[in-house]
Symmetry: C2
Subunit: 390 residues, 2 copies
Amino acid sequence: MKIESVDFFYLKMPVIRDIGDGSQDALVVRVRSGDLTGWGECEASPLVSIANAVCPPSHSACRNIVEQVLGVEINTPEDIAVLDQSVRARGMDIAQTAHTFSGVEIALWDLLGKKREEPVFQLLGYDTAYPKTPYASLLFAETPDKTYQAARTVQSQGFRAVKFGWGGYGRGAVENDRDQVHAAREGIGLDGTLLVDAGTVWGEDVEAARQRLAALEEVRVTWLEEPFIGNAVHAYRELKGYCKTIKLAAGEGSQDVFSARHLIDAGGVEFIQIDAGRVGGIAPAKIIADYALAKNVTFVNHTFTTHLALVASITPFAGVQSAEICEYPFQSTELAKSLVVDPVAPTNGQIVLPEGPGLGVELDLGTISEFLVDVEIKFDGKVLYRTPLV
Amino acid sequence: MKIESVDFFYLKMPVIRDIGDGSQDALVVRVRSGDLTGWGECEASPLVSIANAVCPPSHSACRNIVEQVLGVEINTPEDIAVLDQSVRARGMDIAQTAHTFSGVEIALWDLLGKKREEPVFQLLGYDTAYPKTPYASLLFAETPDKTYQAARTVQSQGFRAVKFGWGGYGRGAVENDRDQVHAAREGIGLDGTLLVDAGTVWGEDVEAARQRLAALEEVRVTWLEEPFIGNAVHAYRELKGYCKTIKLAAGEGSQDVFSARHLIDAGGVEFIQIDAGRVGGIAPAKIIADYALAKNVTFVNHTFTTHLALVASITPFAGVQSAEICEYPFQSTELAKSLVVDPVAPTNGQIVLPEGPGLGVELDLGTISEFLVDVEIKFDGKVLYRTPLV
């Protein structure tokens, strides 16, 4: 089938708060061929990715996304892989390329699944989508007491795992951070899985991270996520030498298979966290899932946005039974909660991917209309982009 | 001094050809404080970087560049470093951030140098800017004979070194590539330095690269540049095992210090090529130059655009006497040639950085006006960006 249109929809909440909540806006991508429609989503900065989708060329390795996707024949998973290679080669000198293409690639898988009447996880070669244990992903609250309350709430809603991150963690006294993680452990209970996300707060300062390890291990935190900038693999490797029971997790910033491999091979991370909306889509995420399995590293999705992004990010490791845990946005905005008609809800503390064709989710067009923003980009007197009709 | 304005100018040639010539457009940045003006330039895709400069926030780690630069006090090199950290942290989830900030950072150094009445290389701690041997950077011609002629022309103009790259190299038969590099060696002469740039043509296919090594070593090519995608360090490491006399070069895609360190430490490259217009500016490039020196690796600038970019990219290793060679755009467009009033011309086969305050180059405002494009970005009814007055 020939790809006849590629459209980008910039959705946002009326007010964007200056907190680490990635669900406040979304860039949704629609591809069409004949009567079929596929949907995808790009992580992060909608305006930058829209510009990347339509930008004028600078030279042969600095070209936009849309011109390479329109008119392409997509009939097999291999066709998507070939397009991925060409988009990366022709967009090599634009740093945003993988971010932007991610949403398109996801939409193409959704479209192909609908055409083939198969779920995407089966197109990837998995027979089964195993249930995953979702961890509720929360920001650290202002005080240990509020963090305790938040963990209690999560636990009372049937979650067996919780992750706290960002907020003030790692920025103040070591003792404060200790109080926070103790409060989180009390709240989720002795049997719960507790994870901590430092949000790259220590840059590449291994000593700052090392000072927090004792408290994290006291309360049996399973992983410490992103103590450092994602690329600072030497710091990960050094910190690993100080870890007794806790493991390191990272990878959400990966824009290709290679960055994830570095984190595993040189950084020594034991949980590799991949966002299909940033790494270039579902296929690169699947390659990383395979690589992780071979290296005895656990693949985990990174998702802090909508349930479209959630399904797209779980699909690449749906069939890996040993990778049991998955990120689950818990404090999402109204936009993120309502983008799909049937959100993926936990049952008995587990979630299961939808089995319908494609990604198996239906988008709520009313939500798109409600949160859609008008954007227009003019270049040399011509309109390069204008918000499309829903 | 307080930064009072930050302006982005999108310049382009009337026609952009679909070839590997990066000098066909430019994104020039102007910063102002009182009567002083600093200039910088970002590598690659002007529209994407403009969107990144002004984009609405998505969340606390996904914010634009301009809001973080306007009103900041810049009085010392340390102030620039602090701003760099904050821009990277606040723009972490936008892949384009380092590209876009590069031009601003370069402009801030230019401004600071003018304020202090010192050249930037001295602000970096270098006493002297050593002369460098420029290599003329050319695209492989369509036939070996034309490549030979091009090398002759370069040599007759006093260049002692030449690099050929891209074109059809690596895409056809191994024998064709052999003919091309033999022609290049004949053209530049036995005493000349010959370099080859494969432009990532082999992806991560080590065998395809290995098949070309014999011919490259026959004609004593000093380095083979970017046989693979910049991030595929495992492929670099593997190919290095097959190299007898030739060395590997890479790094132009580095967006931070860490990527360059990977290429050195894990990839084993012996020439690290950094574009100040992409890595985040002059200071990160200087950190890499220091690291390279400590690791016995040679730092080289990457520059395929204007003489503003050339000076900015040479400055970080101006004082490293052992790093003798520098890239020099040879087939540039009229735009790239005329952006500065006094281009940096080779004398006796060497070039020397200007000694004036800041970057020591004066911009030709007539060139900016001549090649300037009108761009407008509207968001929710408001103008976020409109091409500024020169």
